[in-house]
Symmetry: C2
Subunit: 232 residues, 2 copies
DNA sequence: CGCAAACTTGATGTTGCTCAAGCTAGGTGG
DNA sequence: CCACCTAGCTTGAGCAACATCAAGTTTGCG
């Protein structure tokens, strides 16, 4: 059962998908599965970057800190995402488990070798990196120019997308209000108040703090794009 | 926010540097030089991404807009940087010339072909993309968690780095206060007031609006990293 | 010389932060 | 089984940082 679980998981790795059978098997050869409990650190900002990871199950937070403790979460990573492609051999952010997390770990050196050996592999990674860059730019727009309700609405829609929900759907929120605040450049109080307001206005429902139901996706989308007329 | 400029000695183009002579010549074969006057648009958000560019001379601004006109500048690009590696064939930001700009343009299709053909090319692009991603994450920290004086100090140091100035140096500021504000998530008035305050405190001098002299780099660095005790 | 664009400065306003309670739910031990 | 404890969440009151609105100033250019 364990062996079966292993092979199934590995075959589902996004990284392996789209590669030749040989390429995929090379990749598997240098991979090991890892597990982290909530709150555990994968690596910290400034650590030597000796591994590349892919999230198999669960959710991570990536963040940077200022010396006085102010934190900016740069992303929440769900299954299928990579991390550790550090430019200069040094991690530029900290990675921590939010939920129970399963990871596929590749040794950096072997991984680098594969980039040269396996046709199409570098191109694939380039596409992934470009996509992340684009997401980072959208996040800059959010952080620099959106108001609190627009930020929260954007976050909720992002979570819905990530979970493949597209109508009026129930979303799981595995992270705390503190995580959400540090992702959106807000305080926990502002996040909480804004969610309350969205509930009062009928855009969402909040059965529990970690489950949110989207009740009016159209209005939420308008709000997220800054097209809402007033109020809030 | 970008990788520091590559030196563009023999081959003139950063992209060609580090490649085999054959690779470099292939690259040259598909490139054309372009020129833009200040304020001209290279491409706009939503355009089809049919070209990849490298900045040869001058400075560009990249930005995203909200429907109501709010603008977030995601980066200022100086010589040696690329743009146009769009993930889905659609530009995700607008690119405009700030100064007179000279560019090297590569047709997308030919460029993609080279990625497969020239050894080490994809890896090189991957390194560039990783570096930009890292810069984007630093900018998120700035936008989400730094106060106005910290943002402005960070910007000044970034400009100094970009121009290779490392002591107390005179910096050229080719962009307007409006550009700076839209890059830092501030208004022009706040940028102006903050610069005035930095001048009053002796950290900088402002001989003209577009030239700034760094007078106390240490304090500026402390400020940029949020380590300054108080005041401002 | 006059105009326009960019910048600076001042007065006032608002958003979101800080500080301060209370509330809720899940986990633990009696 | 229940009472307690704690971490996380919500709510309220007051405040500060930055935005907005409104003049003025400077500079480059026709």
């Amino acid at each position: 059962m364990q062996a079966q679980a292993f092979s199934t998981t590995t075959a589902e790795l996004a990284l392996a998908g789209g590669l030749s059978p040989q390429g995929a098997s090379h990749l598997m050869a240098i991979s090991t599965l890892q597990h982290k409990a909530p709150g555990e650190t994968l690596f910290a900002e400034g650590d030597e970057a000796d591994s590349v990871y892919e999230v198999v199950r669960g959710m991570l937070r990536l963040y940077k800190l200022l010396p006085d403790g102010r934190r900016q979460i740069t992303g929440f990573l769900a299954a299928g995402h990579f991390l550790g492609l550090a430019p200069e051999g040094v991690c530029v952010y900290t990675a921590e488990a939010i939920t129970e997390v399963t990871l596929c770990r590749y040794k950096r050196k072997a991984f680098d070798h594969l980039i040269d050996e396996v046709p199409g592999f570098a191109k694939r990674l380039l596409a992934v990196a470009s996509h992340e860059l684009s997401a980072a730019q959208s996040q800059m727009l959010l952080l620099g120019r959106k108001a609190a309700p627009e930020k929260v609405a954007s976050f909720l829609l992002m979570m819905a997308d990530q979970q493949g929900k597209d109508g009026e759907a129930m979303i799981d929120i595995p992270m705390t209000r503190s995580d959400i605040g540090d992702y959106l450049g807000l305080t926990i109080e502002t996040v909480s108040r804004t969610l309350t307001k969205l509930r009062q206005d009928g855009l969402i429902a909040l059965p529990t703090p970690d489950r949110i139901k989207i009740r009016d996706r159209d209005q939420l989308e308008e709000l997220a794009e800054g097209e809402a007329e007033a109020a809030l």
